[in-house]
Symmetry: C2
Subunit: 232 residues, 2 copies
């Protein structure tokens, strides 16, 4: 990527959904309750979910993100001596369907649209879950294109997913920018030719073994400001 | 895999190293100290290490397991408001080089060798780390072949790693058995044609979305018993 390209506006912005646009606090609360109040197991559950999403990817055993989340919940429960049925785990993950947007999400998306940015979505949620999530969060219709990894058969940050997303909008990766609150997503985008912006939400960290993205801001308002400042 | 094949002895047993043969309690203690005594962050660190080993694999950015471990430690520390330097993290992971064997490891390996099983090693540790680990644990020379994922350029449980290991010993995957204390490793082996034995050490769980292995025992003594019972 040349400096010249870096200074111009990305042709399209791909937003991550879970935790970047959507606030998963209610899911975390619900999962905490399934873990009998053991709050320290919630980040372990989310990390296991991410680990097993990639297990599914590398092993060629692609399954829905929420199903993997249920399995990961049961494993974390069992390994900590808790009795958690599959039904109870399935119930505990349900609030992911109705996660509200972070307060900065809709204003930032609107400002970017007003500034004539093309905006898309690239999420690990499967198609139907993504649609319900967008509908419930009041974000349906905000994007030029909604891409779920389900269509590609691999989870982020597989090297092929970023090029695939770019090709779906008829662009090269370096004309696209991934905007995410996860170090691994930003890293995957950068390693595979996309530009990236990191939303440094509380508890989120960049991956030390990856390049630093050109934009690092505490919230989407900051990211939108930096993008709008960029010339054409 | 036919029932007939299942009932006979595997031609070769591939043992996982970390946590299956080696006891990582001292590493966990050392990492806990780096986390200022916050024990609940240690499983989160290990899960993040596994997650990022697969991030490295899917993103085509293969890095040593211990380097990923150091990065994961720094991320977990930062996201929990702890100040941890890279040097301190590097120091904290050092005990992984001198992890002692679980008490059941050497007796089980010896019994299996006496019973004329071929035994090999298939580990996520890189070559030099693996060699130091085996030497320090008194396990060097126990295996017909020591395979590190470093040679393959992908971490377990990538679908290609099990077929690669089998080919390195001139066998088809279904003539090999993976023996591991991790649900994801056993799952990867089974999904990709190997047989598998799960060592259900405390805190370890099978992955609910994978087939159940033919052997599930609480320790390596139990696994060895089950294998030795098998006819030729």
């Amino acid at each position: 990527m040349t400096d010249g390209k870096k200074k111009g506006r990305p042709r399209i912005l791909f937003f991550d959904l879970n935790e970047t646009l959507l606030d998963l606090s209610e899911v975390r609360e619900s999962v905490k309750n399934a873990f009998e109040g053991r709050n320290e197991l919630v980040p372990l559950w989310f990390s296991s979910l991410l680990h097993y999403s990639l297990v599914a990817t590398v092993a060629g055993q692609f399954k829905p993100f929420d199903e993997i989340g249920i399995s990961a919940m049961m494993m974390v429960a069992r390994s900590n001596g808790l009795d958690l049925s599959e039904d109870r785990a399935r119930e505990a993950i349900q609030p992911i369907m109705s996660a509200p947007p972070h307060p900065d999400a809709l204003p930032a998306l609107k400002r970017l649209k007003d500034a004539e940015f093309q905006i898309g979505l690239l999420t690990n949620s499967f198609q139907k879950v993504m649609e319900r999530q967008l509908e419930n969060a009041g974000l349906a219709g905000m994007f030029h294109i909604n891409l779920s990894v389900e269509e590609a058969g691999i989870y982020k940050p597989h090297r092929d997913i970023y090029g695939w997303a770019a090709s779906r909008v008829g662009k090269w990766p370096d004309a696209c920018m991934m905007i995410a609150a996860h170090g691994w997503d930003v890293a995957g985008a950068l390693w595979n030719g996309m530009r990236a912006a990191f939303v440094a939400r509380p508890g989120q960290e960049l991956y030390p073994l990856a390049p630093v993205p050109e934009i690092v801001e505490p919230d989407l308002e900051g990211v939108a400001n930096r993008l709008i400042e960029m010339g054409e």
